[in-house]
Symmetry: C2
Subunit: 109 residues, 2 copies
């Protein structure tokens, strides 16, 4: 039989790391609405371009962001399948673990 516990890939760990910084989380929150170029993000977050570049790299290496070039702008957007991958990794804890999480029971009086 197959092993029950799926070890997380490096990408999953890198994804959690990428989401462990408030500024990077702010970036993905902004990108939820629409894709943005680096200078848009700089303005919105009021941080230096070099600093942002550093954090965008972390997010991109974790496969959470995509980028495309248009003229001299580089637009960043969410790579949703990787968010789903992280979500699914977490969901397995619910599936196989003995304890169930507290659930709001709509049948309760």
């Amino acid at each position: 039989m197959a092993k029950a516990v799926s070890l997380p890939s490096d990408l999953v760990v890198a994804g959690f790391h990428a989401l462990s910084d408030p500024l990077r989380v702010s970036v993905v929150e902004l990108l939820r609405e629409k894709e943005l170029c680096v200078c848009d993000l700089c303005d919105a977050l009021n941080v230096a371009q070099s600093k942002l570049s550093f954090h965008l790299k972390a997010l991109k290496e974790a496969n959470l962001l995509r980028s495309r070039q248009e003229g001299r702008w580089i637009y960043y957007s969410l790579n949703l399948p990787q968010f789903v991958a992280l979500e699914q990794y977490l969901s397995e804890f619910r599936r196989y673990s003995p304890m169930l999480p507290a659930r709001p029971c709509s049948n309760q009086d």
Copy 2:
């Protein structure tokens, strides 16, 4: 109208941070099966007790672990609701973002 984007709580960011280290991930993988005391974890992971204590603290402060004392042992176990909280934070990216993740289409020829 309510704001569409829910900013993650500090606990969520702390949770991602806690899961951003391979050793800490190994700990939660082990605890999926059953609760374990520190010395069990030390043996299983072959790391110094002091080192493990450091990482257990990070996981516990992120509310991902619970602990209870029994005699001179301290048993750690998963706090599943917090895993669910992280999962739900990630799931909102799917809900509100314009792009949908690639899905296997069963209607396709």
